[in-house]
């Protein structure tokens, strides 16, 4: 049986956690993702940038009142990549 190739970008604990959160919501802000993943702000910023560069998520920087706020959303490309990743995982489990 041939295994499907796993997306290297998604096969990382933090990036996968971020994508799993974003696939199930409309949008989430940086603080929420940080709380859910229990990641450090620095590490999370780096991983979010990588996902954005790949076109998997979009990041919008704005303000909530006077406080700066970073809102993340999954893109259609991200949804497709996530779906392919899960399909590939299934092929490993059902081997």
């Amino acid at each position: 049986m041939k295994f499907k190739e796993l997306d290297v970008l998604l096969h990382s604990q933090l990036r996968l956690a971020v994508m799993s959160i974003l696939v199930s919501v409309e949008s989430a802000d940086f603080v929420y993702i940080k709380q859910q993943t229990e990641a450090t702000a620095g590490n999370l910023s780096v991983q979010l940038e990588k996902l954005q560069s790949a076109g998997y998520i979009s990041i919008e920087k704005g303000y909530k009142g006077k406080k700066p706020c970073t809102t993340c959303r999954i893109t259609p490309q991200g949804v497709e990549a996530f779906s392919n990743y899960v399909e590939a995982l299934k092929s490993y489990i059902n081997k």
């Binding site: 604990q13 799993s20 993943t37 009142g65 899960v86």
Partner: protein, 206 residues
């Protein structure tokens, strides 16, 4: 989150854990505004009825337009307290209430226009049952989206009240106690589901 090698099983477990955590994130604050609306309407109604009773001047009924004061306050408060995460469920609920919000505005405006310029004064009596119908639809649809059968059932049962009011209006027998019926129904439709949902949200987010 620690860096570690992911097995296929661990990846799937992580995915389901994160999805479940996010799905459970119902934002309790939005249901506080239901409770606020119910209590404000009840208090405003009691105040208006008392003023009309003591003064005998029916023009005080125009104070019902103070409902818009709470609407503006509620909109501003919701803008300030924007949630950290917006789920697809939140979006559907906001969509329903935004559409109903326009009906809440247009109905009193159209009925008042009809009464003043076309002399159709019976139109003013239509405002209360129509507002109740909009509220019942909003709460019931929210219940359907959240899959909460009581949140759907309570407003559906309460729909007897506006239907009765329509029947009475059509026979030209609108009495002052129908206002009490409106206040009581509005209170039950907004406050009881609001309390139930807030309780469930708190339990889920524990």
């Amino acid at each position: 989150m620690e860096k570690q090698k992911l097995s296929a099983e661990a990846s799937l477990e992580l995915i389901s854990q994160m999805i479940n955590q996010s799905k459970m994130n119902l934002n309790g604050k939005s249901f506080n505004s239901w409770i606020g609306w119910g209590v404000y309407t009840l208090l405003l109604g009691i105040a208006i009825l008392a003023i009309v009773e003591f003064t005998g001047v029916q023009q005080w009924y125009w104070l019902w337009f103070l409902e818009f004061v709470y609407a503006i306050f509620d909109c501003k408060r919701n803008q300030r307290q924007e949630p950290k995460v917006k789920t697809h469920i939140d979006n559907a609920i906001v969509g329903i209430w935004s559409a109903l919000g326009w009906l809440y505005i247009l109905t009193p405006v159209a009925m008042t226009f009809s009464a003043i310029y076309l002399q159709h004064f019976w139109a003013l009596n239509m405002i209360m049952p129509l507002v109740l119908i909009y509220t019942i639809v909003g709460v019931a649809f929210t219940g359907v989206i959240l899959r909460e059968k009581w949140i759907t059932a309570i407003p559906v049962i309460c729909s007897i009240s506006p239907l009765y009011m329509f029947a009475v209006i059509s026979s030209q027998q609108f009495a002052q106690w129908h206002m009490v019926l409106f206040m009581a129904t509005f209170f039950v439709v907004m406050v009881v589901p609001g309390i139930i949902l807030n309780y469930k949200c708190k339990r889920l987010n524990k």
